[in-house]
Amino acid sequence: MTTALRLENLSKTFAVGKRLFGAPKGHVHAVHPVSLEVAEGETMGIVGESGCGKSTLARMLVGLLEPTDGTIEIAGKPLDNADPAVFGKRIQYVFQDPISSLNPRKTIRQIVEAPLKLLHGMDKAQRDDRIREIFAQVNLREEFLDRYPHEFSGGQAQRIGIARALAAEARILILDEPVSALDVSVQAQVLNLLADLKKRLGLTYLFISHDLAVVEAVSDRVAVLYFGSVVEVGRAEDVFARPRHPYTRLLAESAPVVGRALTAPEGRETELPDPLNPPKGCAFRARCPNAGARCAEEEPMLEGDGHLAACFHPVR
């Protein structure tokens, strides 16, 4: 099993209240040092709620944001300069909002052609052949090529977005909430298409979502993000069936499920900690039923064998 993507201590800090001269007022640690490995052909699910840093992480992985610290390695080769054009050939991004990720003033052909022309320098005939091939792969009709994005439904637009990512011939796709803007019946179409493409083309996916059921349905392994840190990582079935971190358990219990009575899974104050003034120790302790004295003092590290959790009092 070869490693397709390796992150080592990748972190991002944003300065807040920047001034023209002088130091900024404060710093927000959007992503705390994160280390992850994704094997080739694997789907790694990344779960977390809004504000947990999952989009920041994803944008660093494709070079749209420069990491503050840490390294990204793709297929054994480090990528240290944040240049999306360099990243683009190896790793591509599928956006959450399919319509707004397509320029409203360009035809679909112009959109899908751009990576072929700029990343691979293909001539017109080669491009036309390749586009035909890609469109067949994502089940889109070629007559769509000369239309504009607003003429498409969400599901079709998302397939166009996937086609664009495939055109770059990257082996790794970052899927940032690719189905959360779609209706359930269409959502399943897109998820199945993604699974099919992965099998046929041997792709590696990083699947980011807030929807646990969707992540479970597509992922081999799952990482749970809370307040910018990975709090639990392991095989999907282990993480959801036997969560070790209390936050993962809270997430799993909060997801509405047919046939389970309605209970508020937590009674305490449920606000996320203030990112400008992060708490000492474990960020989850204010919401945690298992929190003890040690949680307020030390920051827990990811521990375990295969199924890791960052918790001093893991759920058993």
Binding site: S100, R105, A114, L118, S254, V257
Partner: protein, 626 residues
């Protein structure tokens, strides 16, 4: 292009402006071909001839030059200078604005502070200073006018660019290998051109005036060359004795600037996407009702009873049947779920109840909404207004959009109470505080003074719920109230709604697309597809044994936690457009059980009062399922 022209032509004033401008520009273009006297030849013997004199239709000026000829040549020159200045200002200003907006950060800061400095000078003073430095002359006046207008374009375009530069398609372009220059030219520029055109069309008039102003002061065109400003300036001394010399160029300036401004406003209205979608046509206070046919009677003991409700959107010559005959009822203390995909008509159904569908284009074309025996469809606005919020209240999806950003949440709650109850401010504040406590907001006292942006999404939605409870309504209509929230927060909000409904015996109509939410909260559920209810019944019965193939397959599409990695069931195809519904069952084209009979006539919603389905080949027989 044709669409743009027809939109423009709908605005009568803009059309008039266009006609006048076309005439003026045509005349200016053909001026050299016309048999006019030389505009610069002086003939002091014939000075100050009145209009309609022999050989001088508009008379002559103080040097005996033919005014008509000077007017034509002067107009030509003024227009050319005005347009040139506008084009130069637009190009430079847009370039500065795009660069500042796209790069952001320090680049933006430095450029925009420079632009601010330029704007800090009164513009005519700045223009005078530029001309003074460069020396008088038409070309220098043009440069001055263009320069003072650059900031206007730069600021305008920068604002638009900032919005576009953060759009996902720009990120996608970066990942497709585009450099910054290419992104600016091929991704950003095409999206800001409409704004540039709008800004230009509304400023050309100014620029013509400003050039005329400089010429009037003798800093623009130099004698003997005529432009409209210098003609006015030279006629100033004879204003009382020979007014026609000033009136002629003055009227021309008036006509040109008026026409350009009217046309410019029209161009803006036709190009601006927000205005084009009808935002300018203010919706009426309640939905238009054009009901044909009899008013259905209320049935059963429901507090809110919808009977065969039909709501349509009339856009140009298309009719969208958003709600095509929906009958529903909800009893006190009951929670009714309406589930469906986007475009199924679930929200329009909810908004129709209180006449909140925007009109135009919405029209309620049939059916009735009985609230405690009173028909709300077609009820006078005063009645609806009195009931809105007091008897039937709404909770919307996005609390950030429904709360006013500039008022404290406490004040907004107080306002909601005092709209319906004439109580002293103090009493209303007490009640508002109680409401915040009811929805379990921690530190309710201090939260009264918070602004919406200071709260998290979950807290804001709690305020939204508190506001809907403000007047102790009987019915709450919740339109996807938890869709924008995180799952942990959603669980809290749902359990809060459930508790409130039991405590206060509220009837809740809960609109959602999530079966899990319906299963946990609702007693009964109605499934909507293409504007109609396809299945209705007790939640448990519908979820355990869905009778309509659409319900069954929709449930199968939803991944559920605990089932592991797997292939999902999908429904092929797309829901039909509601302006082009197929005859018979709307789901038939996507249904694998469809037969010719499904695509023929109307299919009725049949069954018992408890459990009904609109299908001739249901998945399970209803009698057997019960």
């Amino acid at each position: 292009m044709m669409g743009f022209l027809s939109l423009l032509a709908r605005n009568r004033l803009a059309l008039a402006g266009l006609v006048v401008m076309v005439l003026v520009v045509l005349l200016a273009l053909v001026t050299p071909l016309l048999p006019l006297a030389d505009p610069d030849v002086t003939n002091t013997g014939d000075r100050f001839l009145p209009p309609f004199s022999e050989g001088a239709l508009l008379g002559t000026d103080h040097l005996g030059r033919d005014l008509l000829s000077r007017l034509m040549w002067g107009t030509r020159l003024s227009l050319a200078v005005g347009f040139a200045a506008a084009v130069i200002a637009a190009v430079l200003g847009a370039a500065v604005g795009i660069v500042a907006g796209y790069y952001g950060g320090r680049t933006d800061n430095l450029i925009m502070r420079g632009v601010d400095m330029l704007m800090a000078f009164p513009y005519i003073l700045l223009a005078l200073a530029i001309v003074a430095a460069l020396g008088p002359g038409l070309l220098n006046a043009l440069i001055a006018v263009a320069a003072v207008n650059i900031p206007f374009f730069a600021r305008n375009i920068r604002g638009i660019t900032v919005g576009i530069a953060h759009k996902e398609f720009v990120d996608a372009a970066k990942l497709a290998g585009m450099g910054n220059g290419r992104i600016i030219l091929t991704e950003i520029l095409p999206n800001v051109i409409p704004v540039i055109v709008i800004a230009m069309s509304t400023t050309v008039g100014w620029m013509i005036l400003e050039t005329a102003g400089l010429s009037f002061l003798g800093l623009g065109s130099q004698p003997p060359q005529a432009d409209l400003g210098s003609m006015l300036g030279e006629a100033r001394s004879a204003l009382i004795t020979n007014p026609h010399t000033s009136v002629v160029p003055g009227v021309m300036i008036l006509v040109i600037v008026m026409a350009i401004n009217l046309l410019g406003d029209g161009v803006r209205d036709a190009l601006d996407p927000r205005l084009r979608s009808g935002a300018l046509t203010r919706p009426m206070a309640s939905t238009t009702v054009r009901r044909e046919g009899p008013v259905p009677e209320a049935q059963g003991d429901a507090v809110l009873d919808l009977r065969d409700l039909q709501t349509q959107f009339h856009v140009k010559d298309r009719v969208y049947r958003a709600v095509g005959g929906v009958s529903l009822g909800v009893k006190p203390g009951e929670c009714l779920g309406i589930i469906g995909e986007s475009g199924s008509g679930k929200s329009v159904t909810a908004l129709s109840v209180m006449g909140l569908v925007a009109s135009p284009p919405g029209v309620i074309t049939g059916g009735a909404v009985h609230y405690k025996g009173q028909d709300l469809v077609g009820a006078p606005y005063e009645t609806l207004r009195d009931l809105r919020g007091r008897e039937v209240s709404y909770i919307f999806q996005d609390p950030l959009a429904t709360l006013h950003p500039l008022y404290k949440v406490g004040d907004q709650l107080v306002e909601a109470i005092r709209v319906h109850h004439r109580v002293p401010d103090k009493e209303a504040r007490q009640k508002a505080l109680g409401l915040l406590k009811d929805v379990r907001i921690p530190n309710a006292e201090s939260r009264m003074d918070s602004y919406p942006h200071e709260m998290s999404g979950g807290m804001r939605q709690r305020v939204g719920i508190a506001m809907s409870l403000a007047n102790d309504p009987e019915v709450i209509i919740a339109d996807e109230p938890t869709t924008a929230l995180d799952v942990t927060v959603q669980a809290q909000i749902l359990s809060l709604l459930d508790t409130l409904r039991r405590e206060k015996r509220l009837a809740i109509v809960f609109i959602t697309h999530d079966f899990g939410v319906v299963a946990q909260l609702c007693d009964r559920v109605a499934v909507m597809y293409a504007g109609r209810i396809v299945e209705e019944g007790p939640t448990q019965a519908v979820l355990d044994a869905p009778a309509h193939p659409y319900t069954a397959r929709l449930i199968a599409c939803v991944p559920e936690l605990g089932e592991g990695k797997r292939q999902l069931h999908a429904i092929p195809g797309l829901p039909p457009a509601v302006n082009d519904l197929p005859p018979g069952c709307a789901f038939a084209p996507r249904c694998d059980k469809a037969e010719p009979a499904c695509k023929r006539g109307e299919i009725a919603l049949e069954g018992t009062a408890r459990r009904r389905v609109r299908c001739i080949h249901p998945e399970t027989e209803l009698e057997a399922a019960q």
